[in-house]
Symmetry: C2
Subunit: 451 residues, 2 copies
């Protein structure tokens, strides 16, 4: 899973589309190795997204720094019958030597704003296309979804429970990271906890209750084994009856110095159950015992629960966040914007790209809220503060990797800079994106005649 | 990415939810290591699915056979503060020693039918839960989506173009495999081609055209470099104008012994463009040049294109298939059905499970169409042919891994056994699922009193 290293002779270099190889061979054969700039951006925001949160840059830079084909991969390519020997030999020496500009992870952004710009000899910049999109698209997708959940939860704790229904291991790992960046408090995913130092949470499944012939015995055994982490799942048979058992158990446990931390409800009408359970716990003197809710949660259901005053202290969404279920992809692209100093266009219907190496500058008002963004050429001065930073030169990072907690703080600050209409679950229109005069000049018909 | 081995001290064993560790520690401490049986099933089919196709078993068995924690993982767990030393020591020796029954990959199935049953000492069976679901859920999700696309394409070729928007590397890899199982002809994903011996396809992106100042020159250079694989992307500026350039180029290339194989259209109204391009190619004597279409394709858009007679020879769907975009998850579960010989229940609202170790038997009619399925206990004899086979004993496979082309053939046969109403894009009701008398007896209220 870790990008940037190899296992069993498998690196991340083969994570490409066949056409990148066929194109790169043609580029080498025809001497087309001048610098090319590609920009990665999202063409339009999904219906229910007022903003996106950039994420995944750390893994993208890992990938670029360690890009190389292994011996067994080169053997496979040489034997595929689709590529020349000379080209495969060239691939064996190929490393990524380019420059990268990017939005810092955690930055809020909008449609048509580049989040990464790669400048490198054309074949290099082309060969890394697919994995770069694959890494940046997914974490950005999940951070953007998770940010909505964080807004809906209005300060209640959030834990990612999504690994089982994530699309493979890497999706589970990176979704936990992206959700944490967006403001989640932790994850049930142990590998994500280990790799990214994200707090990990978890206590028991229904199977734990079912494996015992008696529900109260199951509760007690768990409490004795994990006295500092007593969170009891109470909906296996009858939620309120189980809450009564928790009350009865609590005094026996108190005598042994064990405090029950919380109960978890995982089915039915979570709000109604939470109210009844809260009343039972309170009547039993367990005001300090929290209520955790899980089961099919997303920002809409959490919003309803929060706004109706449900006494739920922690939410554990899973599937809907790690798959971004309402919109499981973004309409993103990695497009050539300049080759050998010549700005490049594309006029395909519905898929027009802006030419030239671009920067985004952002104007904030006196209260720190976003007023507008401007898309301008890298060498132009834009109004406001430029968002893209130079993060890699000559194939190597020019800064130390950011701490994940710092990225998380940046995301929180970026979300606070969004006008309220964009933070709503049904968002209003995005801030205006102005085009600089130089970009407008490049877009004029005389400049974009069909070659 | 490969499951079942390790890289940088990272195995697949930590791909679990924290609660599996806390439960397992309690099981060991309280001597609960008797055999437990868990079954993995889908609670209900999504709205637009008349059937599902089981996939991912090969990777699930790889995972079980090689399950073990690495030294660095054990160190992490020991230092996490949430687990006892004695338990972590026990984990260091833990291997999967259980028995597995499963639907062969490629088998069509329906709601509430177990696709995998694991029987092992309780802690073992519990610790493998999350990764087993993660592996089987995703490939089943994608194979089931891809099967709909295959039905809609009515024999036209299909290539997976989805890696860039798949949810991480593993998702792209396994989606290519699952789509191939379901009947796709190949993939653009080079790593999937290498690992699973799936035919790989690809020629050029818009960037190839844009990097040249002249579109016709780009076409010619590509053809010279890849004379056996001349597929030209014609929608960068003006699709029909580019088709005319293809005609002009073809005679020059013919003189050099190079034949153009196909053109690709990647934007706009694909059907309308295909008709105009077909007419231009035919008028230019290029009746043998095929048309490939891509851009946001799914089973609905392919169905419309096919039924309206669009002259498209090959479709290349991507995002919508590899994310199963209309329904990016299945409501699946891995539930305890028996512990120490005692059948187990769960009554949580909307999440009831059937008790006991179960088998599914299927009745076909004289024409080979599915009539009904029956859910019965493993030791009961059901009507029809049993579907689950014993695939692992004592932690080791009891059969040689199936060839992927054989799995693909089985999927094709299983799809043909489905009544036509289930193969429709708007499917009719599933075949009846009967419960055996012994399961019904276990479900009676006297047997399922709340513990």
């Amino acid at each position: 899973m870790p990008s940037g290293s190899e296992r069993d002779g498998v690196s991340d270099a083969l994570l490409l589309d066949q056409y990148e190889l066929t194109m790169a061979q043609a580029y080498f054969e025809h001497g087309m190795t001048a610098p090319a700039s590609f920009e990665l951006f999202v063409r339009r925001l999904p219906r229910d997204r007022g903003f996106l949160i950039a994420a995944g840059l750390e893994q993208a830079l890992d990938f670029l720094e360690s890009f190389r084909f292994t011996e067994s991969e080169l053997d496979y390519l040489a034997g595929s019958g689709q590529l020349s020997r000379a080209f495969v030999e060239r691939l064996s020496r190929l490393r990524f030597s380019g420059e990268v500009w990017a939005l810092p992870e955690g930055t809020a952004f909008f449609a048509n704003e580049p989040i990464v710009r790669v400048t490198a000899p054309l074949p290099e910049a082309q060969l890394v296309e697919t994995r770069l999109i694959n890494l940046l698209h997914f974490q950005t997708l999940i951070a953007s979804k998770a940010a909505r959940v964080v807004l809906a939860a209005q300060g209640r704790k959030l834990i990612d429970f999504g690994l089982r229904r994530a699309h493979g291991a890497e999706a589970g790992l990176f979704a936990a990271r992206a959700a944490y960046v967006a403001g989640f408090d932790g994850t049930s995913n142990v590998q994500a906890g280990a790799r990214f130092d994200i707090p990990s949470y978890g206590t028991m499944a229904h199977s734990f209750i079912q494996a015992h012939e008696d529900e109260a015995l199951a509760f007690e055994r768990f409490a004795v084994t994990h006295p500092d982490n007593v969170v009891l799942l109470i909906d296996t048979y009858d939620t309120e009856a189980a809450a009564e058992k928790v009350v009865a158990l609590s005094s026996r446990l108190r005598d042994r110095g064990i405090a029950i931390k919380a109960v978890r409800i995982d089915s039915g009408d979570l709000g109604a159950h939470a109210r009844k359970v809260r009343a039972i716990l309170d009547a039993g003197g367990l005001r300090d015992v929290g209520i955790v809710a899980s089961s099919g949660l997303d920002e809409r259901s959490i919003d309803l629960l929060v706004r109706s005053g449900s006494p739920i202290d922690m939410f554990a969404p899973g599937t809907h966040v790690v798959t971004s279920a309402d919109t499981p992809f973004l309409d993103c692209a990695y497009k050539l914007v300049e080759y050998a100093g010549r700005p490049c266009f594309k006029l395909s219907e519905g898929k027009v790209t802006y030419p030239g190496r671009k920067q985004v500058s952002r104007i904030l008002d006196a209260t720190g809220q976003i007023v507008s963004d401007t898309l301008h050429l890298q060498d132009e001065r834009g109004p406001g503060a430029p968002l893209l930073e130079r993060v890699m030169v000559g194939g190597h990072r020019v800064f130390a990797a950011a701490k994940l907690t710092d990225v998380r703080r940046r995301a929180a600050e970026s979300i606070v800079s969004l006008p309220l209409r964009l933070r709503a679950l049904d968002p209003g229109p995005p801030p205006p994106l102005a085009l600089s005069s130089q970009i407008e000049a490049l877009m004029r018909p005389t400049n974009k005649a069909t070659p």
